[in-house]
C-alpha cells in the first residue's frame, strides 16, 4: 500500500515538474494562436529563454536576473515573429521554423563562445537557481505556482476583458476588428508580447528551476508538445491545461514504466508513451476524436481591403 502511495506521489511530483513548462508555454502560445498567428516558434523561444536564463544567472549570480533575461530573449524573438508575420506579412510557418533553427544554433554558438563548455552553461548553485517555496527540495519554485496561476489568469483575460474580446475577434474575423476602428496589427503585437513573456518563463523554469543549467536542445520538443496541447485543448485555456497535465503524466509514467510489465499488455514501449501527445494531436486534428477548430483567421496575414 505504502509502495503504491509513494509511486503515486512520485509520479504526481514528476508530472508537475514536466507539466510546468508545458503549461506556461501553452498559455503563451494560446495568446498568439487566439490572435490568428500560428506560432511554430514556441520551441525556439523557450530554448532561447532557457539559455539566457542560465547564462545570465551564471554571470550575475541571481536567479531573478535569469528570469528577466529569459523574458527579454523570448520577447525579442516574439517581436521578430511579429515583425515577419504582422508587419511584413511573411509566411508564419516559415518564420516559426526560422526562429526554431536560429535558437537551436545560437544557443550553442553563444554558449560555447561565452562558457567554453560545449554549449552548456556552468552548473548553477544556490541563489543562481529558483528556490523551492514551501516544500523543501521538492522543486516547487515560484514558476510552478506561476504556471498554476497562469491558467485562470489566461482564462480571465481571454474571456472577461476588453483585450480578450478583441483578441478572440481578431483571430476569427480581423475585418470586423478593423471595421470597429481597432488596430489589427497592434492587437496582434500585444498578443505576441504576452506569448514571449510566457515562453520566457517556461524557458527560465527549464534551466534555472527544474535543472541546474542549460544544455543544448534542452527543450527537446516541449514547445511542440505545448502546441499539441493547445490543439488538444481546442484553443481553450482550461482544456489546454488539462492536456498539459495529461502529457506531463504520460511523460512521468514513461520514466516510471520503463521496463515494467503491465498485466495483460506486456511491456509498454516507452517511446509509444512519449509519442502519445503527437499521436493524439494528429488524431484530434483529423477529426477522429471530436473536432478541433482553429481560429478562422489563423495563419493569414491581414491585408486591408480597399
Amino acid at each position: 500500500m505504502d509502495e503504491a502511495l509513494t509511486f503515486f506521489l512520485l509520479t504526481l511530483a514528476s508530472m508537475a515538474r514536466v507539466a510546468t513548462p508545458l503549461v506556461l508555454c501553452a498559455m503563451g502560445g494560446l495568446f498568439a494562436e487566439k490572435s490568428g498567428i500560428v506560432d511554430i516558434g514556441l520551441e525556439g523561444k523557450m530554448l532561447m529563454a532557457a539559455f539566457f536564463a542560465a547564462a545570465s544567472a551564471a554571470v550575475t549570480g541571481s536567479a531573478w536576473a535569469g528570469v528577466g533575461a529569459a523574458i527579454l530573449a523570448a520577447v525579442a524573438l516574439a517581436v521578430l515573429h511579429g515583425l515577419a508575420c504582422i508587419t511584413y506579412r511573411g509566411n508564419q510557418v516559415v518564420s516559426g521554423v526560422a526562429i526554431n533553427i536560429l535558437a537551436a544554433g545560437l544557443t550553442v554558438v553563444l554558449g560555447t563562445a561565452w562558457f567554453a563548455r560545449g554549449g552548456q552553461t556552468p552548473p548553477l548553485t544556490g541563489s543562481q537557481r529558483l528556490p523551492s517555496l514551501f516544500l523543501p527540495n521538492a522543486g516547487d519554485n515560484i514558476l510552478v505556482y506561476a504556471a498554476l496561476l497562469s491558467v485562470p489568469l489566461t482564462w480571465w483575460i481571454v474571456e472577461r476583458t476588453r483585450f480578450g474580446l478583441r483578441l478572440r475577434a481578431v483571430g476569427e474575423m480581423p475585418f470586423a476588428v478593423d471595421a470597429a476602428g481597432i488596430s489589427v496589427a497592434w492587437l496582434r503585437y500585444r498578443a505576441m508580447l504576452i506569448c514571449g513573456l510566457f515562453a520566457g518563463l517556461a524557458g527560465a523554469y527549464l534551466s534555472i528551476g527544474q535543472n541546474a543549467g542549460f544544455s543544448r536542445d534542452m527543450t527537446a520538443g516541449q514547445g511542440f508538445i505545448a502546441l499539441a496541447a493547445i490543439i488538444f485543448g481546442k484553443w481553450r485555456p482550461l482544456p489546454t491545461f488539462g492536456a498539459c497535465l495529461i502529457f506531463g503524466l504520460l511523460d512521468a509514467m514513461a520514466i516510471r514504466l520503463q521496463g515494467v510489465r503491465v498485466p495483460g499488455l506486456g511491456e509498454v514501449p516507452v517511446q509509444l508513451i512519449l509519442a502519445m501527445p503527437y499521436l493524439l494531436a494528429v488524431f484530434l486534428l483529423a477529426g477522429f476524436i471530436g473536432r478541433a477548430v482553429a481560429p478562422k483567421a489563423s495563419g493569414v496575414p491581414y491585408v486591408k481591403e480597399h
Partner: protein
C-alpha cells in the same frame, strides 16, 4: 495573391525581383552572422576566410562539401516540390528517417541473398517508398480529413523519431551491441564511395564521405525539373499551387494531386537515408537526418524552388556545413552550430522577411528611373 497593393512606389523590374532581391536577402543574413561572429570576439573576415578554405581548400574538403550538398539537394527538392503544389512539407526530417529505415530494412533482409546490382536499386526504391509512405499519411489527412499539413508533418517528425528509437533499441539493434545501431550492411548493399570509383577509373582523389548518391541527387534534380515543367502531371501540380480554382477548372483532382505531390516530396526526402546509411554508415543508426530536413526549407527558399537553384543552394549549404566544421576545429570558440544559425537566418531573411528590403529597393529604383 492577386491583390495588388497600391503604393506610391512602382513594382520592381523583373530582373531585380529575380536577382537583386534574393541577393539582398542573403546578404542581410550574412551581415547578421558577421555581427554575431564579431560579438563572440572573432574577426568576421578571418572567420570567412577559414570557412571558405575549409569548404573548398582541398580535395578532401570538396568531397565532404559535395557529400553534405547531396543531402541538402534531396531535402531541398522535397520542400520545393511540395511548395509548387502549394503545400508546406516540414516533415522532411521524419520522411528522411523513415526512408532510411526503408533502404536499411531492404539491405538487412536481402544483403546476403541478392547481388548488389539488384539490391542497390531495390533498396533505393524502398527508401523512396518508405519516405513517400510517411508523407502520404499527412497528405491523406489534409486532403480527406482537412487537418493542416504543417502541424501533421511536424507531429510526424516526432512520431518517426520515437518509432526509430523503439525499433533501434528493441528490434534492430545488433546482437550484443551496447549502442543502438543495426548490424552492418552486407557490402552488396553499399553505395560505392566516389574515392573508390574514381580510383578505379584512374583518378585519385582524397577519401571522404562522398559517394555515388550524389549522382542520384543530380538525377533527382533533373527528374524534378522534367516532372514539374515537362509533364502534364507537373503542370497540374503547379496549377494547383498557384490557383486551386484554376486547377479545378482545368479538371485536376485536388485530392489526388495533393497525394502525388507529398509522396514525391517524401520519396525525395527519403533518399537522405540512401546517402547516409548505404553510402556512409553502412548500418542503420539513430539521428542520421540531423536537421537536413529542416535545412531543406532554407535550401528551397534560397533556390527559389527551382531544381537548378536548389542545386546551387545545396552546394552553398554543403560548403557552409563542411567549412563550418573546419572553422570550429580552427577556432574553438566557434562551434559548427554556427552553420545552423546561418540556416536559420537565411530562412528568416529569404523566407519570412522576404519583403523587408523591397521598399528600399523600390525607393532606389524609383529615384534612378
Amino acid at each position: 495573391m492577386t491583390v495588388r497593393r497600391r503604393t506610391a512606389l512602382g513594382p520592381l523590374p523583373a530582373w531585380a525581383e529575380i536577382v537583386v532581391l534574393p541577393l539582398v536577402n542573403i546578404a542581410l543574413a550574412f551581415v547578421v552572422v558577421g555581427v554575431i561572429v564579431a560579438i563572440i570576439g572573432i574577426d568576421p573576415f578571418h572567420a570567412l576566410r577559414l570557412l571558405v578554405l575549409g569548404a573548398i581548400g582541398s580535395s578532401e574538403s570538396i568531397g565532404y562539401t559535395l557529400y553534405y550538398a547531396t543531402n541538402f539537394m534531396f531535402t531541398g527538392l522535397a520542400v520545393a516540390v511540395a511548395f509548387h503544389a502549394g503545400l508546406f512539407n516540414i516533415g522532411g526530417e521524419g520522411q528522411a528517417y523513415i526512408g532510411g529505415l526503408g533502404c536499411g530494412l531492404a539491405v538487412l533482409a536481402l544483403g546476403d541473398v541478392v547481388p548488389g546490382w539488384f539490391l542497390v536499386p531495390l533498396a533505393i526504391a524502398a527508401a523512396a517508398l518508405f519516405g513517400a509512405g510517411w508523407a502520404a499519411v499527412p497528405a491523406w489527412l489534409q486532403a480527406w480529413r482537412g487537418s493542416h499539413i504543417v502541424i501533421t508533418t511536424i507531429m510526424f517528425n516526432f512520431i518517426a523519431s520515437a518509432l526509430m528509437v523503439y525499433l533501434m533499441v528493441n528490434v534492430l539493434i545488433a546482437p550484443g551491441s551496447m549502442t543502438p545501431a543495426s548490424r552492418a550492411f552486407a557490402a552488396s548493399g553499399w553505395i560505392p564511395s566516389m574515392h573508390d570509383v574514381l580510383r578505379a577509373a584512374g583518378i585519385p582523389i582524397a577519401a571522404s564521405a562522398l559517394n555515388l548518391s550524389i549522382v542520384l541527387a543530380l538525377l533527382c534534380c533533373f527528374a524534378v525539373w522534367v516532372f514539374l515543367w515537362h509533364t502534364p502531371g507537373g503542370y497540374a501540380l503547379r496549377t494547383m499551387g498557384h490557383s486551386p480554382e484554376a486547377a479545378v477548372y482545368a479538371g485536376t483532382n485536388l485530392k489526388r494531386t495533393t497525394m502525388v505531390a507529398m509522396c514525391f516530396s517524401g520519396a525525395l526526402a527519403g533518399f537522405v537515408g540512401v546517402n547516409e546509411l548505404m553510402g556512409v554508415h553502412h548500418r542503420i543508426v539513430l539521428d542520421f537526418p540531423a536537421g537536413y530536413g529542416f535545412a531543406g526549407i532554407a535550401v528551397a527558399l534560397m533556390g527559389r524552388n527551382h531544381p537548378l537553384g536548389v542545386m546551387l543552394a545545396a552546394l552553398l549549404f554543403g560548403a557552409l556545413q563542411q567549412g563550418g566544421t573546419e572553422l570550429a576545429f580552427e577556432i574553438p570558440s566557434i562551434t559548427r552550430e554556427m552553420v545552423v544559425v546561418i540556416q536559420g537566418l537565411i530562412i528568416l531573411f529569404s523566407g519570412a522577411l522576404v519583403h523587408l528590403p523591397r521598399p528600399w529597393l523600390q525607393y532606389l529604383f524609383a529615384s534612378r528611373y
